[in-house]
Each structure stands twice: as C-alpha cells, then as structure tokens.
C-alpha cells in the first residue's frame, strides 16, 4: 500500500498521447480493462491516424486514447481531459488545447530535445509556458525505463518499446488501479526477456509513483453504483461481431459473412473469423461488390448473409442491395460510418451516410434502416437487424460509426436464455407454392432454398409478376409491386416500441439525435434539466421506418433541434416527413459531439424565447 495520502474524486478523464508507434492504443486499452475491473463506469475515445507509421515525432503521427471513468453514471469520453500524458512534443502540441484549464500534464522530458521540438513545429521549448497554465510533471521516462532494464540484454530499440508500460504502471499507482489483469496479459502475450522487461517496467513505473516526490498524493475514484449483474468491457465492433455469432445461434441458421478489408470495419471480419466452431463462414472477397454478392448468394441458399463495411464500401454494395430488395431475400449490411466524402478521414467518425442508406440506390428501393447508439447496443441492433431481415424477407441496413466501433464501455453480459429463440421457417411444401405469394401480416414472400424438392424457381433483378414471380412488364403490376415493397417495410413500424421522451413530454424544446451521438446528447440535456432548463430529448434507433409516434411527439414541442454528425440529414427527413421546422446542429469535424457544444445550442435556442 502507498504511504502517500490519497484524494477521492468523482470522475477523471485521462488522455494518453504519443507517436503511433508508441503503443498508445495498447496502453489505453490496458488501462481501460483495469478500470473496468475496478468497478467504475467508463467511456473511451481512441483517436489515431490512418497512416500505420507516419514519420516519427511529427504531428501527423500522433495517436491518442482518452478514457473517462467515474463513480457516477457517465456516457461520454468527456469534453476535456483532466490529465494529458504525452510521450513527445508533437503529442503535447496536438492535444494541449483540449485539456481542462489547470489540468495535469505528464510528459516524457527525455523526448523534449531540440530536434524533436523542431519536428513537432515548436520554435521554443513549450514546457515553461505549460507549467504556467497547468500542473506540469516532467518525467525522464526514457532514462528511467532504460535504468529498470539495464541488466537484461535488450537492444535499445526493444528496451525503448517497453516505456509505455512504465507510464502505465505509474498511472496505475496514481489512480489506484489494480495491475493484475495487465500482468496476466503480459504473461500470456510475451515470452522470455520481453515478458520480463514489460512486467518489470510496469512495476517500476508503479514504484516510481510511490517513491518520487513528483507526486504528493494519489487519487481514488470509488466504484460506480451500477445495476447489479455480470459485466465486461466491450467495444462496438466486438459487440457487433458477437451479435453476428449470436444471431446464428438464436435463429439456428448458419451465418455467412462476406467482407472486404476497410477501416473501421475490418476488426469485425477478424473477430468473426475466429469463431468457425460456431459454424460461421467468413469470406474475404476480392472487392466490396463480391462481398455483398456472395452474402446474397448464401442467403438465397438458406444462410444468414451479412456484410460489414464502411462508407466507400457501402456505396459499392448499393447495386447488390437493390437486387436483394427486388429478390426479397434476407441480408444485413452494416455500414460503420467514417468521415468522408470519398476516402475522407478513414479513422475519424461521422454520421453522413443516412441518406445513402435510405435513398442511395436506383429507383424506389426501400430498406429498413437501424442505428446502434452505444457500443454495447451494437449487439442488440445487429440481432434486431437479422430478425427483421428474416421475418420480412428484406435486406436491412444497420448503421454504426467509427466512434462506436472503437469506443469501449462496461456491458452487462446478456443472459443467453433471455435472448430468446427466433424460429426461421423455410418453405418446404410444394403444394400451392408461389415464389412471390405473401404472408398476410408481414407481406414477406416465402424463403424457398435450393435443394428443396418441388420448389424449383427463378428469381432475379427483372420486374416480377405478383405471386408467380415470373418476369413481367405489365405497368400496373410494376406499380403494385413497388407499393407492396414499400408497404412491407412500412409495416415494420408496428413492431417498433413507443419513443422514450427524456424530460418533460411536451414543452419548449426537443433535441433529436440518432445513432452514436446518444452519450453526448443525453448528457447535455440531462445537465440542462438539472440546471432547470425546459428541454427534452429523444434518441432514434429506427430511421426507416420511423417509430409510429414520432410525428406526434415532435408536434408537442415548440422547437425541435436535430443534432447529428453531418450537414443535417435527419433534419431534412423530419422536415419532409412531418412539416416540422427542425433546426440543425451539424458537425463534420470527424470527432464526436462534445457535451458543451450541444448545451451551448440548447441555451441559445431557449434564450430566444
């Protein structure tokens, strides 16, 4: 136990920053795991460049990982970190402006050489002015790390690679986090000298905190009061991958995942590929079009076809999606949105593919569109997407985003029995079979799989005769089939639960959000309500069809503000659909909303009254 006193804090946000080769993401992930095990609520924001290794020490190569943890319920990685850990001058320069005034700056002072200052674009040493504005702690991290490893025969390069674990050990001491899970991980991950080296510097960093006079006290963030149950940490992409595996179990159908590598969706392909023993088949296709086409082929043959991609890949799949609309086959396409247009900023977040999901195909091509709103919710949303796809015989688009994909939060592990069992009915009876005869309630056509005797039939992209599915050019039949496809998707609204209005159920201002911005919007509106402001908010996960009571809910408020990470796509839809004077809070910086950005707009709109 530390001899030094400790101080209790409600919450703290730390941002680790360094070169993309410094192991920042790993350091952040390990700190997150340890924090989860310490029982705090938490939210993380990894922020890294698209380049694998940009030139060392430059602004282009700076990688960051922010973690916010608390004894209270929290929903965002925090607008401004309280602590900034910077491994080099470029990392300091790229991140200092975000730090809370008076916050703590921990730097590797060994890295502040004339040369590296110049590489970061500093013309003079920034540390004196940093210490005027913040609590500056200068640690000779490189030297301390080397010292701790001097009797191990490591190359200076190998030794240097351990220094992130020295810093991690120090932060474990400073915030009273347990080290066991990280030591265990090092035990499994490394062998020989490198295992010894990493474990040793982790402990050395911890001991340095305890003995060094640089730190007069450590801090304690008590356990959060969260719902009882069993928890684990989860990122959006892991939740999505596990949801894909779970869907196959719950629906008792094999999964076929067609994918082409693309940031930030590739992790889902990697993760699902590890679960062949669940009977899942993954196919790394030659391109995005092939990935979608193969998944549709697998669906035709009775599998649960699914594709995971991001914006540029999603656009390439649109023609195949249109065919799935025409062929009325189940398919789930997940678009983990990233900043665009074109290649844009591949590792940064955005929500600007909403209209592409709804309207990005030729002609009338209705598909259900769902959006996950927290990392853990990616699991529930992909299950819902599969259920809708199979129940209604339709492709379904699920929207996630780069922020949800990479962020982590504590996740109550679902009870498998509670996930239910979805019975999938394949058509086997030849008597009276018609490929495009519809279920009265859902309007779904039968799923008749090759290999079933007596159901031989042809489907395809040409216009279909109602019932028989034969190629048809009859004008009235064509319009009728358009109507049926629209009606089929529209009827899904009957299954969508009523909207939860957070705050008063009518009044001056309603903030509307959708998808991955939930944490920031809910936090901002709750804070405003605590301050006595008359603001309510709703958060949509169903973008097509909308919840059936959406128009009615909107009509109960004088003003409607739509906050989204695009130039106003949901706002456009709400204006068109409900004739409501929806105002826009648009952001396209590639970063999630800050609570204060939403709050400022709420305040401004209410002041107008």
């Amino acid at each position: 136990m530390s001899e030094k006193p400790n101080e209790e804090l409600e919450s703290i946000a730390i941002r680790f920053t360094g070169d993309s080769g410094d192991g920042i993401q790993l350091t952040g992930t390990k700190f997150t795991e340890s924090t989860a095990l310490a029982g705090n609520d938490l939210s993380t924001l990894p922020d890294f460049p698209a380049e694998i290794r940009a030139p060392a020490g430059t602004m282009a190569g700076v990688s960051g990982f922010q973690i916010h943890f608390s004894s209270q319920d929290i929903r965002t990685p925090s607008d401004h970190p309280d602590v900034l850990v910077s491994f080099n001058p470029a990392a300091l320069r790229a991140n200092l402006d975000d730090l809370r005034p008076g916050g703590m700056v921990i730097v590797n002072s060994d890295a502040f050489t004339t040369k590296s200052l110049a590489r970061a674009g500093y013309t003079e040493d920034p540390l004196p002015s940093v210490s005027d504005r913040f609590q500056l702690v200068e640690i000779p991290l490189t030297k301390l790390n080397r010292e701790a490893l001097k009797d191990l025969k490591l190359s200076s390069r190998d030794a240097g690679r351990c220094k992130n674990f020295f810093a991690l050990g120090l932060m474990y001491w400073l915030y009273n986090r347990p080290m066991d899970s990280t030591l265990r991980w090092l035990e499994e991950k490394f062998k020989g000298n490198m295992r010894e080296a990493n474990q040793r510097v982790l402990k050395a960093g911890h001991a340095f905190g305890e003995t060094s006079e640089l730190f007069p006290r450590s801090f304690v963030v008590p356990r959060a009061k969260i719902e009882p149950g069993r928890y684990r940490n989860i990122t959006g992409n892991t939740a999505l991958a596990w949801g894909i595996v779970a869907a196959s179990q719950i629906m008792d159908r094999p999964v076929f995942l067609g994918a082409y590598p693309i940031t930030p969706a590739s992790d889902v392909l990697h993760e699902v590929s590890r679960y062949r023993h669940f009977g899942v088949k993954t196919f790394q296709a030659e391109d995005e079009i092939s990935a979608a086409s193969a998944a549709i082929g697998a669906s035709f043959a009775g599998s649960l076809g699914v594709c995971t991609t991001s914006g540029p890949g999603f656009v390439l799949k649109q023609e195949a999606l249109g065919l799935a609309v025409m062929a009325e086959l189940p398919l789930v396409v997940v678009n983990i949105q990233r900043a665009g247009p074109s290649t844009g900023m591949p590792t940064k977040t955005e929500q600007a593919d909403l209209l592409a999901a709804l309207y990005g195909r030729n002609s009338e091509s209705p598909v259900p569109v769902l959006a996950a709103d927290t990392p853990g919710n990616c699991f529930d949303t992909i299950l819902e997407a599969f259920r809708l796809a199979v129940r209604h015989m339709t492709p379904v688009v699920m929207l996630s985003d780069s922020y949800l994909a990479n962020s982590a939060e504590p996740w109550p592990i679902p009870d498998v029995a509670g996930l239910g069992h979805e019975r999938v009915t394949l058509r086997v009876e030849p008597e009276g079979f018609q490929p495009y005869a519809r279920d009265d309630q859902t309007l779904a056509r039968p799923w008749a799989v090759p290999g079933t005797p007596g159901l031989e039939h042809r489907i395809g992209g040409l216009s279909k005769q109602e019932g028989s599915g034969n190629v048809a050019y009859d004008p009235r039949n064509n319009e009728r089939m358009h109507e049926l496809r629209h009606a089929k998707v529209a009827r899904i609204a009957d299954e969508i639960p009523a909207i939860e209005v957070m705050g008063p159920d009518r009044g001056d201002l309603l903030v509307v959000g959708w998808g991955g911005t939930r944490g920031a919007i809910v936090s901002a509106c709750e804070e405003a309500r605590r301050d006595g402001l008359p603001v309510s908010n709703i958060h949509l996960r169903h973008l097509n069809p909308f919840p059936p009571d959406l128009g009615e809910v909107l009509s109960r408020f004088e003003k409607v503000l739509v906050a989204e990470l695009n130039a106003g796509q949901l706002a456009l839809l709400l204006r068109a659909e409900f004739l409501v004077d929806a105002q826009r809070l648009a952001k396209t910086e590639g970063q999630p909303f800050r609570i204060e950005e939403i709050r400022a707009r709420v305040d401004a709109l209410l002041e107008e009254n």
Binding site: I226, R230, W242, V245, S293, S303, P453, V471
Partner: protein, 341 residues
C-alpha cells in the same frame, strides 16, 4: 417413398417463353444443356443456374431448376456464396464475353483462382447483344460498331488464356452448334471438382453474324478447327492435306505431314490435358486464325482442393478441436466482473 421416375430433357424446360432472337446460338446451347442434365445423377432440386446481365444471362429463366439472374458481371460471386452455403448443390454460372470479361473480369479471375466447384459457361459471341451491338472485350481490333465507327482500337482478351492465367483447373472450348462435343464437354466439366471454365463459341445472328462460321460450318471446320483429344496428336485438315502442330520452346508452328500415319515422328505434339504447368495449354491458347486452326476441346484438367471444401473443412476442424461453439462461454470470456446487489 416411391423412387422418383427418371427425368428427361423436357423436365428441365421452364414454362417461360424463350425470348432470344431467331437463329441465336443460345437456343442450341440451352437444348444441349437440358439434354445433359438428366444424365448427371443430380436431383433436379440440387441444380442452381446463376447468371449476370446480358443475352446469355437470361438463361436461368428457361431452366426448370433453381435459378438466380443477378447483376452485371457478379454472377461468380453470387455462385460462390451459394456453393459455400450449400456445397452439395450443383452450381452453374452462365455468362458472356461482356458480362464475364469486361464488368465482371475481377470476379471471374478470383473465383477461378479460388477453385470454387462451379461450372462457368462463358458464351463468347464477341459483341454486346442486349445493348444493341457495341464491341466487347473479345472483339477483334478494327471491328466497326455504333460505339467504334472508326474501328475498335482495343486489344482483345482471350477467354482461354485468361482462365489459364487465373489458375483454372479445368479449361475447355466448345461450339454452340456442335451438339455432341458440347454435351461431352458439359459432362466432363460436371465431373471435374473445382472451377470448370468452358468458353462456348456462340453466334449472334443480329450484331456479329458468322463470327465463328469457320468452326460452326461442318465443311470449314475440317480446315479451321483442331480437335483436342487426350493422348492423340494435334492434327487437322482434310484428307490429303493433313497438317500438325509442333510446339518448340513454347512456340507453336504448323507442320505439313508427308506421312499422315506418323505425325509424331514429324515432331507433332501429342495432346495431354494433365500437365502440371499450364505452359502447354497457353501455347495452344495462342493459336489464332488464319495462320492456325482454332483448338476445340479440353485444354487443361488438373486436380486441386476446392474452396468450399477447404472452408467447410476449417469449420469441421475448429469444431473438432474446440467443440461446438457455446454462446454463453463466448459472452463470458476474458475479463469480467460482477456488481453485487
């Protein structure tokens, strides 16, 4: 359950009117495929015909089997998904020179390279028919069409060389109206495990009539085509003017035979489709009119594991090693913690 009665050609014809132009080579191909189907020992419900876009791609609508008319160029990818999902199905891809080698060239390449167990039938008429007569990627240089009024300046791709270059394990060429050879080739393709690629020379009477007349016409065929038969020398020509093909250092040449009974002594190559390297097959694929005859038959037939078998094998191996996946333990894997009430 009573045994099902044997199926006939008619059982494979759908109730839809066939809508190709009068005189189209596709009619003959359709009839011959329907003829061969009952002989293959596959229940009708296990056949799936998959196509892209173009005249040839209307094919599935006329087959009374499962069928999927998909999007332009992507049929091999759809077929890959079908075959991976249900490896026991007999999956046939019908494509054309535009669908398969222009917009769909990438999928054709990768499907062949993976050796998915499919039969891929590429109807090559060297023209775009459904869009009314533009030149295709197999059209000859100089071909005048609506889009090339001054003649095409594209160098054509050869489907056989393309398939060989993609690593195909079975490559053959046949002719729309040569019923016997077409049927024989379909049978062999079906028996092959892996991607069987067949180029079918096919006449478009409207936009590129008589492109293949030299190999379609019985008389001209004698002079203009070279039948590939395993273990037999590469000889062609009318009686009294028999010639052979010699291949030296990969370069083919024509040999005038003084003694037609002994072509081998004159250096004429003997056909084998099982060479380990594709070099010999490439040499054959390079034979062009009018200097050489057009080879008809199986260029290459070698064994390699199929993609869908390897994929299913990985699933089986993972299950054998780790046991059937258990969702409960997956969700609870790694570091977890319990919050007490």
């Amino acid at each position: 359950m009573a045994a099902r009665t044997a199926l006939t050609q008619k059982d494979f014809a759908s109730d839809q009117d066939v809508r190709w132009c009068p005189g189209c080579g596709d009619y003959s191909i359709l009839a011959n495929i329907q003829r061969v189907m009952p002989e293959l020992g596959v229940p009708r419900e296990n056949f799936v015909f998959v196509s892209g876009i173009g005249c040839s791609s209307r094919f599935p609508y006329y087959m009374n089997t499962y069928g999927f008319h998909t999007i332009h160029g992507r049929a091999p990818a759809f077929a890959t998904g079908i075959k991976c999902a249900q490896p026991e199905l007999s999956v046939w891809v019908v494509t054309g020179d535009g669908d398969g080698l222009s917009i769909g060239g990438n999928h054709l390449l990768h499907t062949i390279r993976r050796n998915v167990d499919l039969q891929i039938l590429l109807f090559n008429n060297r023209v775009y028919g459904l869009t009314k007569g533009q030149y295709s990627p197999t059209s000859r240089v100089g071909m005048r069409t609506k889009s090339t009024p001054d003649g095409s300046i594209d160098h054509p791709v050869d489907p056989i060389a393309f398939a060989l270059g993609s690593g195909a394990t079975f490559v053959a060429r046949t002719v729309d109206v040569d019923a016997q050879h077409l049927q024989e080739t379909l049978r062999r393709a079906h028996a092959h495990r892996g991607t069987a690629f067949i180029e079918i020379l096919q006449n478009c009477p409207v936009y590129n009539d008589d492109e293949w007349i030299e190999v379609e016409d019985r008389k001209q065929r004698v002079e203009a085509s070279l039948k590939l038969e395993d273990g037999k020398p590469l000889v062609y020509g009318p009686p009294g003017d028999i010639r052979g093909i010699r291949i030296e250092d990969g370069v083919p040449s024509v040999v005038e035979l003084t003694d037609p009974q002994d072509p081998v002594s004159a250096g004429v190559a003997v056909h084998h489709d099982r060479h380990e390297t594709p070099a010999y097959a490439f040499a054959l694929a390079s034979l062009r009119r009018t200097k050489f005859p057009i080879p008809i038959g199986v260029f290459r037939a070698v064994e390699k594991p199929t993609y869908e078998a390897l994929l299913s094998g990985q699933v089986a191996a993972a299950r054998a090693k780790r046991g059937e996946g258990d969702l409960e333990s997956l969700l609870n894997s790694g570091d977890t913690w319990t919050v007490e009430a």
